[in-house]
Symmetry: C2
DNA sequence: TGTACATCAGTGAACGCGCGTTCACTGATGTAC
DNA sequence: TGTACATCAGTGAACGCGCGTTCACTGATGTAC
């Protein structure tokens, strides 16, 4: 028979996710590089020493954020893109950008900040995730790369817009992506 | 008669520039948000308390970096751009990006990192500087904005490239900028 | 089923250390007359 | 020109505080038989 995940394992996973969420939220407010282990533990309401039951150090939790949060976000963003249909793809992507910003602003801030940030151990894996997205967008590597640049700029821009300005940003983004993806 | 700048003033300015350079260099290595006042003073070889003779706090020195270093860099980048000639402008800009990365990599890292970063007091003035650059690039606001996004992506990308790969990046960037600026 | 043992997430105390900031002081330079 | 005073960049001592990390321990849960 299949054994259920034990209560112990479930509780541990729950605490782990709380830590990841706390790190994400604090990153969005003052940057991952400035986070402290005690600060994250405090936000997750556990003792500082308990942090070590889940992650080796702050580098470890940073890598986990990229793999477990940014990765899925970008895969979802790439869903529904048809490399053969520039207009449809632009529409899907522009909407996806705005949806991501509304649903997970802290995660989006983490992505755009750390992909350009000073910490190589975050920048490099984030670049890897973005390359994976690029291959899903267009057959030409240059075009795909350019589209990703436009997407990232749209994400960063939308983050700082008031909700009332976001519709206009979605339209702008759609036009920009159409131009890039339909370019021959 | 005009009075010379006194020795005192000259020496103070020299120390001030050393502090700014130290802050820039340390920002590039682990992010402005994580900098400490004592850390910057140490790198500038002055006592921690002397920092206060030049800046009120870390926020103050951050703003000075944007105004006194990033501003001039972007103005130089915009020099020689002719809004009426997409090809010529793309060439000048692509070359300018690569030159900036080679001549002042730490400043470029500061720019791309903090313009997307979590610290609003840096992000906002950096956005202002970038808007000023945009107006110099093209008559259409949307096109200019897109060109700036491509420029920033090129800066971030070139920073992480080996010198041998940078010529190819300049060509790619030139094609991308030409497409964006010549779009009708 | 009951019992003895193993596992391990969470903890509090403790450590040495670097932090930002204040304070009073020094001494070279600048100003007034 | 000389003299008395003002300015102020730089400093070292001191402060209370939060940091990352270690350690030994607790107690609930899981496993073996």
């Amino acid at each position: 028979v299949l054994r259920d995940r034990s209560q112990k394992q479930e509780e541990k996973e729950r605490v782990r996710l709380t830590l990841l969420g706390a790190a994400l939220s604090l990153s969005a407010s003052h940057g991952f590089a400035s986070l402290g282990l005690r600060e994250v533990a405090r936000a997750a309401q556990i003792a500082p020493t308990s942090f070590y039951r889940h992650f080796a150090d702050m580098v470890d939790i940073g890598r986990a954020l990229v793999e477990e949060y940014v990765g899925p976000l970008l895969r979802e963003l790439g869903h529904g893109v048809d490399p053969g249909d520039a207009h449809a793809s632009a529409l899907v992507l522009a909407q996806g950008v705005l949806t991501a910003v509304e649903a997970q602003p802290e995660l989006v801030r983490f992505l755009v900040a750390e992909r350009a940030g000073a910490l190589e151990f975050l920048r490099k894996p984030l670049d890897g995730e973005l390359r994976a997205l690029a291959t899903a967008l267009h057959g030409s590597a240059d075009t795909a790369q350019l589209a990703v640049a436009v997407l990232l700029d749209g994400l960063a821009r939308a983050l700082d817009l008031a909700p009332s300005e976001r519709n206009a940003e979605r339209e702008r983004l759609m036009r920009a992506l159409t131009m890039v993806l339909a370019h021959d």
